[in-house]
Symmetry: C2
């Protein structure tokens, strides 16, 4: 059974479609982190991307792929994170309405960010069933187009443009490392590496406290994490059949890391690179530092996925 059929031409078309609306984010390096990791690390800085995260790529590609008569009824999604802002921003670019379902316990700063892009926020109980029911009701009432955060070929094709830029700018990478939550970015990363540079191995970092993907890749079907408790709050979702299928074919390994390892990597990036990233974003660097046997001496590309961190929460982690 074929869950996806994303070709190289689809990724190229996605890039052409979204390029006018996004930043081509810079690739940074750090001599002192290289010395610690004993390899040459390249960081693709999606924390500097529009809305502060890579998610804008997938949401924009999905939105811009809609027929005009479908887009004009608006865009809808449920999310408490960067995807909510991404859909809100994409709708504003198209000049249409955005309907965002958010759990009623969402941090007010996130709600305000989404409203800041002009989106209409509908609150729901903080569970998956309530999210989906509320979204269905909105879609039925408005005719808005639902943009899933990752279980969508257009979204995956959009996220793939990040690794495409990365491999264009640093063509001799030997490995790519991305975090895995629902697997949209990781799937896109694998596909761009597959089409552009067959020799590049794609790895994922996953928090121990949300370790569903590593189990799913092992068993070959969607598994739940044994427990969910991590500071990497962007990586709590599980894979879909679609992303599992892509990852089963293309990902080299999923490397799990503890919250202590994530925090240490986060601190390194703040202190050595002087840039702000969110905890989910530090997971790949933590994985690289934990597995010298895989990376020593190599040229390794790390996707820094976003920089939307709540400073008062950050404060608690570092106040030790």
């Amino acid at each position: 059974m074929n869950y996806t059929n994303i070709r190289w031409a689809d990724i190229e078309a996605a890039h052409a479609r979204i390029a006018p609306y996004i930043h081509r984010t810079p690739v940074l390096t750090s001599r002192s982190i290289n010395a610690l990791a004993s390899c040459s690390l390249f960081f693709k800085c999606e924390n500097f991307q529009k809305i502060g995260a890579f998610k804008i790529r997938g949401a924009l590609n999905a939105a811009l792929s809609l027929r005009p008569e479908d887009a004009q009824r608006g865009l809808a999604t449920h999310s408490s994170g960067n995807h909510a802002q991404a859909v809100a921003y994409a709708a504003r670019q198209l000049g249409v309405k955005a309907y965002i379902v958010m759990p009623e316990n969402s941090p007010i700063v996130k709600v305000n960010a989404v409203r800041g892009y002009g989106a209409e926020v509908t609150f729901c109980a903080p569970n998956q069933a309530a999210r989906e029911a509320t979204l269905r009701e909105i879609v039925a009432r408005t005719g808005a187009a639902f943009i899933h955060p990752y279980d969508d070929d257009r979204v995956i094709g959009g996220q793939a443009t990040c690794a495409k830029e990365f491999l264009e700018d640093v063509p001799d990478l030997e490995a790519l490392v991305a975090p895995v939550g629902g697997g949209g970015l990781l799937s896109g990363t694998c596909l761009s590496a597959h089409y552009m540079a067959a020799g590049v191995l794609t790895y994922a970092g996953e928090p121990e406290g949300a370790a569903d993907a590593v189990l799913s890749l092992h068993s070959g079907r969607i598994e739940k994490a044994p427990y969910v408790n991590t500071i990497a709050d962007g990586l709590l979702t599980t894979l879909s059949e679609r992303t599992l299928h892509i990852l089963a074919q293309h990902v080299q390994a999923i490397l799990t890391v503890s919250d202590a390892e994530i925090l240490a990597a986060l601190q390194l990036v703040f202190e050595r690179m002087k840039i702000v990233i969110e905890p989910s974003c530090a997971v790949p660097l933590a994985a690289v530092l934990k597995h010298p046997e895989l990376f020593v001496g190599k040229r390794v590309g790390i996707i820094l996925t976003g920089g939307n961190v709540d400073l008062s929460r950050l404060a608690k982690w570092f106040a030790r």
Copy 2:
């Protein structure tokens, strides 16, 4: 009486001397901060500079200006901050010893950073007299060359290269804003603006809790701050006769800001620009936001001086 005689040729020579050892730091912009400030802001990112701060410019220029027979006996200074790292780094580039006097209550992270560049650290009681006495003893014993953090034409000439790069990269700036502590960076900024672009007005931001420069400019002699209590711990020192003399001729105004205003500006830079800066570094942006009557509609250059922030202290400020 003439305290200084820094010519344009001296600043050009300083730049040629230090350029091989430093980064030409990027200039960043932020649409959302521009919208808040109602002007076009340009940020010169010395937080990405070698050692994480502009101080390397002055220290390197002083060190590289020494006769080889003087340099070979080593470099010395007293500092608990970025100047200590700057002198240590400069000494390593020259292949000579660095002797750094630090107060015995210095944070261990700062001591380790200085030792990380191979410098010999000597501790002293945490007061100015003990610092100077300890330094004199070391200089007498070793013959090392003392590099003052700001009361030195070679240091000021080195710091001036920051505004020189800035005005080369953004030639149509209408104002420059830097923080003021001892006045080394601000003096260099004034001089480069004076020589390169006579129409550019140079302003300073100063913490209310270390407000000596604003008083000194008013009375025309070195004054002490009424009280010293601010999170901007890089700006606690007073002007020297030399820097007062330059500033009296060239600075447009010194604008004081409260710690609450500094923190709000710091938070804006973290959240909107996704870069790490130290509190002293947020003082100019705080001043610009406080004085729309001076800056609205203008093209304003802000020097972000450094990014060496202690994350656990940062945490306390934001954990509210």
